[in-house]
């Protein structure tokens, strides 16, 4: 029943399609599997705020927050910022605790070209939740994409 | 000072040594003449002064007083294109077009002096730089105007 969804994840086009030369684009599964290791992942409760366009990937503002009361019983334990295209998929891993009061984090990312970004949260219940964001790094030059 | 630009007398109050180009562009909003080099090398800023091509980036505005200044905007008479402009369309001369106002004005002046210019005449007169490289078509278009025998 989720087969359609599952297969859609693997079929991303190769990176060359955009004329960028920074390696292949990972599918969602390839990004998440090493972390979630077979656990259920639900796309809910995680929010991303970033720019839509970037002239280059050197410093891209990125904010993520997770719906969570951040209490001892119910809080976010981990947050991963994942890149579909960077040579290193995990841009940052965060260990959080109830003391934070708010499951929110802002930073600036370094990205090797346009891609989808994923924020993955692990809750104290063991549940995984995620959100995606599209980011376009505009073409800065006459790279021969042929 | 008073300046006759494209058959209109315009009033302006600027330093006498301000180049005509910047008086036209930044004071009178006449944008046809372009800035290319600032040192009379490229000719993108060409205007006609009493029918003679002048590189306006290096020509003091005060020296233009009392002369008729014609820029590319003032070449067509009402809605009727000058034959050189028409030839530029017929032969699809421009690429980016930035230098073409200047090129056209130089060609107009050439054809006025020599209605049937030789290739050597064209070589000698057409010294403006075109970075896109439209030279072959400029030559063809000038010959075409000459051939039509229209009074340019």
């Amino acid at each position: 029943m989720a087969a359609g969804v599952t297969w859609a994840l693997g079929g991303l086009p190769p990176a060359q399609a955009q004329g960028m030369v920074s390696g292949k684009l990972l599918g969602l599964r390839e990004m998440l599997d090493p972390i979630v290791a077979g656990a259920l992942v639900v796309r809910t409760g995680v929010h991303i705020e970033t720019v839509i366009l970037a002239d280059n990937g050197l410093s891209v503002p990125f904010r993520v927050w997770v719906d969570s009361p951040m209490t001892a019983q119910d809080h976010v334990t981990h947050l991963w910022l994942l890149s579909q295209r960077n040579p290193v998929t995990v841009m940052a891993k965060l260990h959080l605790g109830p003391h934070m009061g708010r499951a929110e984090f802002s930073t600036r990312l370094r990205l090797a070209g346009g891609q989808q970004l994923v924020a993955l949260a692990r809750l104290s219940s063991g549940e995984f939740r995620y959100e995606l964001a599209d980011l376009i790094v505009t073409e800065a030059g006459c790279v021969d994409g042929s | 000072m008073k300046l006759d630009v494209n058959r209109q007398v315009r009033e302006l109050d600027v330093e006498p040594d301000m180049p005509l180009l910047w008086a036209l562009r930044d004071e009178l909003d006449v944008k046809g003449p372009k800035f290319g080099c600032g040192v009379a090398q490229c000719g993108a800023c060409t205007v006609l002064l009493n029918g003679e091509p002048v590189r306006s980036c290096s020509y003091p505005v005060s020296a233009a007083v009392g002369q008729k200044v014609v820029t590319i905007e003032g070449l067509a008479q009402k809605d009727k294109l000058h034959p050189v402009q028409q030839a530029w369309i017929d032969h699809q001369v421009p690429q980016c077009g930035y230098c073409q106002g200047g090129q056209i004005l130089v060609a107009v002046a050439l054809l006025k002096k020599k209605p049937k210019p030789t290739d050597q005449d064209i070589d000698a007169a057409m010294g403006n730089i075109c970075r896109c490289g439209t030279y072959a078509r400029i030559r063809t278009a000038i010959h075409a105007v000459a051939k039509k025998g229209v009074r340019a």
């Binding site: 995606l132 021969d144 | 090398q41």
Partner: protein, 720 residues
């Protein structure tokens, strides 16, 4: 398998489809249109097409026009499938903010890489075909006949059986209410009516009357003007500034120290520029003032011998094959740094009003302009408007947005007031992102029959991708630095291409034709050296070495050779040279006919230059590009060279960075030879085969083998 679940709405799938649209120029481009506020307007069949009641067909064009002619040829693709009457077509710019608002309905907007036609042809033709089917469906519904019985032509839908027709203007409102068909069949190329015709460019009438507005012509009420100076030594910063001499001068509004550069803001650009000369600026240059051309060459030379090299191509066993070859030919080639020198220098007008920013600039990359503007001003992206302007040339310079950033920095410092920044020519020549210099060493191994068996090409050069874009290079290879080497078409068993990345403080960027602006010169001259060594005719040697593997390279080579009457008689003292290249999805070749006097005067009697772009959308425009690229190429070949001394570029304006003029223009015969079946680029690949064909001809005429450019350094001058 189903450990990966999604929310009940199934959003994940749609999101990932969207990725394919943005990264692969997907099919769904242009079919999203937000409905709010559009109800009363002209019927939009999709983002690209609007049809008015008076039969005017508005087709949107999403990229920049800088002389490449795509503002005409891209809409031709839409109009052909739409079966529009071209005379009724009006072309309007799509804007970056509209693209942002519509979640990129117009796709990639950058006019770079000779990509406008080849990357957008599919979705543009589909946009036209989809709208055509909607118009046919609307007519069929009105008539109560099956859509399959209706045809469209010249802006009308016809029903032959009942001899009825309806014009697009009358159908558009109904058609716009229909759902767009998911699948449309694109026309067979033999049925094209507009594609393949030499149509006049739509922007030329406004060019010849002076009405067209370039970035430099932006006019905003209350606007001020800025002249700028950045440190002439690369990477330098402002240490201190004393503007007391000019602050009270007529028209001077403000002198800004913006850290990386100084800006004088005045009520007339000339006043600003004159004052800037008298602002005392002390620069912080650190060690960067040490760099010079000799040190750069030494670094490239060191690259040749460095232990660790990135491997770009490795067929067979080249080292071994060279060791056992009957004969090994070696040569070293060099090409210099070059400036773009677009006729219109860098400009940016920006107006920051509260949280809203308007930008007028000449940009090849409007979305990049938007992103940089928003980031620099600190405003939201949806508050930025980038106004489309014609470009006074682009040549790859106006894609990186360093100048936009400067313009917006000034506007931010002058918040509330629109300011037009214009670079002087000196600023433009000395603060370019230069075509990289490159040192290349070739080794070719021949067997006893004079057949090329092994080719080793070693490149020592800066990397644009690593330094300008700061991208990690796969296996250490910059594809631009080794272009036309790593993909050379010659059918030989052993090829090794390796690369030493040698960066310097000289900033590098994308110059028209990029790696193909220099590497084909070296490759195709070296192929000539091999042909000579084998005692073969250069054309015959190429055809034999290309073999069966590269039929398109062979086809263009033969077409141009035939057009040039290769092997036919020539006047005494006139000699030919030939070269063949491929790149940007197209195939190109060139024959030059020259004579060389004892004094080194090179007279070019004729250039025959041709391209196979697969499909030729607007052949006359392709001819114009071929002609123009000869001029662009010859300027570089004879005179183009940026030299570095004390950390800065020595050249400053057209007196010492010479460009070709009309009296030096040789006769050019163009060959547009589309073989069909693919879509190649045009603006850039056309200049690639010129330099090798010319230098091979110079060798034939004079026996002088030129292995570095420009020719002025070899005592060779262009005879008008």
């Amino acid at each position: 398998m189903n450990h990966l679940e999604t929310t009940p709405t199934g959003l994940a799938r749609r999101d990932f489809l969207k990725v394919s649209a943005t990264t692969a120029a997907g099919m769904s481009l242009g079919f999203f249109w937000p409905t709010q506020g559009d109800a009363a307007e002209t019927p939009k069949l999709n983002a690209w097409i609007e049809i008015q009641a008076d039969e005017t067909v508005i087709i949107r064009y999403a990229r920049a026009e800088m002389g490449q002619g795509s503002r005409t040829s891209a809409p031709m693709l839409v109009a052909d499938e739409l079966e529009a009457d071209w005379k009724k077509v009006r072309i309007e710019y799509a804007t970056a903010h509209e693209n942002l608002r519509t979640k990129r309905a117009y796709g990639d907007m950058a006019a770079v890489g000779s990509r406008t036609i080849r990357n957008s042809q599919e979705y543009l033709r589909k946009a036209g075909a989809t709208a055509r089917e909607m118009l046919i469906a609307a007519a069929a519904t009105q008539w109560g006949v099956p859509a399959s019985e209706c045809t469209a032509a010249l802006g009308k839908v016809h029903h032959a059986a009942s001899k009825r027709s309806l014009s697009y203007g009358k159908l558009a409102a109904d058609a716009a209410k229909l759902e767009a068909p998911k699948e449309v069949k694109l026309k067979d190329p033999k049925d094209w009516k507009i594609i393949g015709k030499s149509l006049p460019r739509v922007d030329i009438p406004d060019i010849v009357t002076g009405k067209i507005r370039y970035g430099i012509d932006a006019q905003v009420p209350g606007m001020l003007y800025a002249a700028v100076a950045a440190c002439p030594v690369f990477n330098g910063k402002v240490k201190s500034m004393d503007a007391s001499k000019v602050e009270n001068r007529r028209g001077i509004v403000k002198v800004l120290n913006l850290g990386e550069f100084v800006a004088v803001v005045a009520n007339n650009w000339w006043r600003a520029k004159e004052a800037l000369r008298e602002v005392a600026i002390e620069w912080e240059t650190g060690d960067n003032g040490q760099l010079n051309s000799a040190a750069i060459m030494a670094s490239f030379k060191a690259g040749m011998g460095q232990a660790e090299l990135a491997v770009a191509r490795d067929d067979g066993n080249t080292v071994q094959a060279l060791a056992s070859a009957d004969k090994v030919i070696e040569a070293e080639y060099y090409t210099p740094y070059l400036a773009h020198a677009t006729m219109e220098p860098m400009v940016c007008t920006a107006w920051l009003q509260g949280d809203k920013l308007d930008v007028w600039t000449s940009t090849q990359n409007p979305e990049g302009t938007l992103a940089v503007s928003a980031a620099t001003a600190g405003v939201a992206q949806d508050k930025v408007t980038v106004h489309p302007m014609q470009l006074g040339g682009g040549l790859g310079r106006k894609s990186p947005q360093d100048f936009t950033r400067q313009g917006v920095m000034i506007a931010k410092a002058m918040a509330g007031t629109p300011v037009k920044m214009v670079w002087s020519r000196e600023e433009d020549i000395q603060h370019d992102l230069y075509r990289p210099a490159s040192l290349v060493r070739f080794k070719g191994g021949m067997d006893k029959d004079g057949k090329l068996q092994a080719l080793h090409i070693r490149v020592s050069a800066p990397s644009i991708l690593a330094t300008l874009l700061r991208l990690p290079l796969p296996k250490g290879v910059d594809g631009q630095a080794v272009a036309s080497f790593n993909d050379h078409p010659y059918d030989i068993p052993h090829s090794l291409v390796d690369y030493a990345q040698r960066n310097t403080n000289v900033p590098v960027g994308f110059w028209r034709t990029v790696g193909h602006s220099q590497n084909p010169f070296m490759r195709e001259c070296f192929i000539d050296e091999l042909a000579l060594s084998a005692g073969k005719d250069p054309l015959a040697f190429r055809l034999a070495t290309l073999g069966q593997k590269s039929p398109r390279d062979v086809a263009i080579l033969q077409a141009v050779a035939k057009a040039a009457d290769w092997g036919g008689p020539l006047p005494k003292g006139v000699f030919r040279g030939i070269a063949e290249t491929e790149g940007y999805g197209s195939y190109t070749a060139c024959v030059c006919e020259v004579s060389v006097s004892d004094k080194g005067d090179v007279k070019i009697h004729r250039v025959v230059i041709g391209i196979d772009p697969g499909y030729a959308v607007n052949p006359d425009n392709i001819q114009a590009q071929l002609q123009g690229s000869v001029v662009h190429g010859l300027s570089a070949i004879f005179w183009g060279e940026m030299t570095v001394k004390d950390g800065r570029i020595e050249q400053s304006n057209f007196h010492d960075y010479r460009l070709m003029r009309l009296n030096e223009m040789p006769e050019v015969k163009t060959v547009v030879a589309p073989t069909g079946g693919f879509w190649g680029g045009v603006g850039e690949p056309t200049q690639a085969p010129l330099a090798p064909a010319l230098c091979n001809a110079i060798f034939a005429a004079s026996g002088k083998r030129v292995r570095s450019l420009p020719l002025k350094n070899h005592g060779l001058s262009l005879k008008a």
